[in-house]
Symmetry: C2
Subunit: 180 residues, 2 copies
Amino acid sequence: MSVSRPAVHPLEAPPLTDGAAVAPPHRVRMKDVQGMPGTPGSLVLRVCQLILSAVSLSVMASTSDFPPVTAFRYLVAAVSLQSFWSLTLAVVDVYALLVGRSLRSPRVASLFTIGDGITSTLTFAAASASAGITVFVVNDLDRCDVKHCGKFMSATAMAFMCWFAVSPSFFLNLWSLASR
Amino acid sequence: MSVSRPAVHPLEAPPLTDGAAVAPPHRVRMKDVQGMPGTPGSLVLRVCQLILSAVSLSVMASTSDFPPVTAFRYLVAAVSLQSFWSLTLAVVDVYALLVGRSLRSPRVASLFTIGDGITSTLTFAAASASAGITVFVVNDLDRCDVKHCGKFMSATAMAFMCWFAVSPSFFLNLWSLASR
């Protein structure tokens, strides 16, 4: 029995270290993906979203005749919310980069995913509605002041581009949430 | 030594079966989620999508004055594509359920995810654009035949509900893709 003891222990150890060696590569791989919260890529995405939504907001607000149209009022509201959200997360990213903290807890990731999902859906719906109205007025009714319609088109295009910039953040957050 | 042999083997076996028992629960857990391809939940979702998109298409096509409006033409196109896609995947689900095959390969899941993402985005954009036009005509211009506008509203509402039915399929496919 005293001979069998040392033969048992070396056989028990390998599976434990093998199991521990399998887990870390997943976490290391996820940490390297740019665009997740707390990375420089995420900050770049947030700044892009902020610029695009702010430009869309200011272009739409600079036209004098947007208030009568419901879809344009909705675009202003959605893009304001989007710029506020992107500004907040840009500040959080700057803080995380300066302090060197990781924002990879499941709670933070799910909060960011839900927020990104809501704001991107609202921005996309507003951009689509505005695009529908703009195309309706320009092509179908064919009664459009060139000066104003150009502004409506620019604001709509900026809102669509803002949605394109939000989508990677949303999907990367969702992916990091699903793959943990 | 003849005494130690039987003492070694029972100790060697548990880590192996333990390691094998850790992997299956993940796969079993994923298989149980209703709504993923090849499950009855997925078939229910697909049939809901098919009915809602077909109703939206037929209501919109039954109005005589949708062709002049670009957004309504786009809605008809998007909802047609959605019903075709949902019908195809419903047939695939029925086949998988009858034959008892699992549709859980990464290639199939990524194909379904991309298809669901494209069709749901198109449907949502078309529904938003139609909603923008309908609200514009009803509230802002205030010139609307009640009979026609009711149909436009119904078709738009059906398209939105269709989008609500596509979203779970899309997110479940994406989740199963990310968590493997």
